[in-house]
């Protein structure tokens, strides 16, 4: 593998992998914050 191919491989797989992993993490965070919502403030009336 030439140095150019090596660099392009790392650029595509590395940058693509970083983007993909962090995008996946944003989805996981959304699930987390939905499953574990902050407690409602005391005194607030429950919605019907």
């Amino acid at each position: 593998m030439s140095n150019q191919s090596f660099g392009l491989t790392l650029l595509l797989v590395g940058m693509g992998g970083t983007l993909l992993t962090l995008w996946l993490l944003t989805l996981i965070i959304r699930v987390l914050t939905t499953l574990l919502p902050p407690p409602k403030p005391k005194g607030s009336k429950p919605t019907p």
Binding site: M15, L25, I29
Partner: protein
């Protein structure tokens, strides 16, 4: 008798006799680091011990980096086996608040765009004739994260792929440029954005985050990193350990120790040992100059990547995203976020971008470590480590 006195005096003058141009230049460099740390307040926690290590290692006839010498012992004890950078990561995790990121998770994508400099610098370093391992080590300066740079470069030192002396140049470049972020970023932010874009007001992210989500977050990130990029697990694992100790609230003594004593001791020893690697004959080379040039290039491209993603987001959101936020997608925390706030207010006094920028900035911290972790895993896949 006269001969004995003469020989004794000769012994005292040995140091002067061995004072060469390399020593003098390196002592001047140590002085420059002291000036930056003491007079200018530039990353003093790191540049002061690095400067002193450099001073100690470059005095004539210094044996501190010889086998058994105190700096060499510190190096073998905590840098050669990568312990000190990892201990510093425990402290970084304890100091970081991920609440703004969890309140607005899409900001994490800026943390990915802010790593563009790593991969573009890698291509440039290869084109300039660096070996693959050296190019990867130099490129990690784009992570804007000193401990990551030291961790990755030492991995290659341990494998005999790069010289120990290169670690000093990489560390000094990384920490210097991190400190220079407030000087490097604003011209790029202004060049790439219009006044209208810079003045965009963003509503408060508002969302509160539960303690349970804050506690689950470091565990989820650790597991995700372990599955996707196991070679980077020591880096991410230590950050998340520090953060888990902090947000759990049940071990305040350990969290405080991670944030204070452990991080401070590791920083002192790491700085001294890194300074010790800056031996004049190995440090004063064209390669060191190239490392500094490539480091600057990496941080410029990081900023360009973040701001360009911000501009794309601005268009896609119908003008609701302030593209300056993208510049905070690097690991220099919380400096980059504060800089975005200052720059945003310069163009619109009603602009409060800090919480959004903090989200992007903590995203940059995760992004930089994730990028390094993924790069190491790809290198393992290619059989290089």
């Amino acid at each position: 008798m006269i001969d004995a006195i003469y020989s004794g005096l000769q012994g005292l003058a040995e140091g002067i006799r061995h004072l060469d141009a390399y020593c003098l230049v390196m002592l001047a460099i140590a002085g420059g680091l002291f000036y930056l740390a003491v007079a200018k307040g530039v990353e003093p926690l790191l540049l002061l011990p690095i400067g002193f290590g450099c001073l100690l290692a470059n005095l004539p006839l210094s044996e501190l980096m010889h086998p058994g010498g105190v700096l060499k012992t510190m190096y073998d004890f905590g840098i050669g086996n990568e312990l000190f950078p990892l201990l510093i990561f425990v402290g970084i995790g304890s100091m970081t608040d991920f609440t703004p990121l969890l309140a607005n998770p899409k900001l994490l994508l800026f943390g990915a765009a802010g790593q563009l400099g790593i991969f573009c610098t890698l291509l440039l370093a290869l084109a300039l004739g660096f070996s693959r391992e050296s190019a990867v080590a130099v490129a990690t300066i784009g992570a804007c994260d000193g401990p990551t740079v030291i961790y990755v470069s030492n991995l290659f030192v341990g494998l005999g792929k790069i010289d120990t002396s290169m670690v000093g140049a990489l560390a000094v470049a990384a920490y210097s440029y991190m400190a220079l972020v407030p000087i490097i970023q604003p011209p790029i932010m202004r060049l790439l954005t219009t006044q209208k874009e810079r003045a965009v007001q963003m509503p408060s992210s508002g969302g509160k985050v539960s303690k349970a989500a804050l506690i689950a977050f470091p565990l989820v990130v650790t597991v995700l990193t372990g599955i996707i990029a196991p070679k980077g697990l020591p880096l991410m694992g230590m950050i998340m350990l520090g953060n888990f100790m902090k947000v759990s609230g049940v071990v305040p003594r350990l969290a405080n120790a991670g944030e204070n004593e452990i991080a401070n001791i590791a920083t002192l020893f790491l700085g001294l040992a890194i300074g010790g690697t800056m031996a004049g004959r190995d440090f004063l080379t064209v390669k060191t100059l190239l490392v500094f040039g490539l480091g600057l290039f990496a941080i410029v491209i990081d900023t360009v990547g973040g701001v360009l993603l911000g501009k794309l987001w601005y268009v896609l959101s119908g003008g609701k995203m302030n593209p300056l936020i993208g510049a905070a997608g690097i690991s220099a925390y919380p400096m980059a976020a504060r800089l975005v706030q200052t720059e945003g207010q310069r163009w619109n006094k009603q602009n409060f971008l800090l919480m959004h920028a903090m989200g992007a900035n903590t995203g940059g911290q995760i992004g930089s470590v994730m990028a390094a972790a993924i790069m190491l895993s790809v290198l393992k896949g290619l059989g290089l480590i």
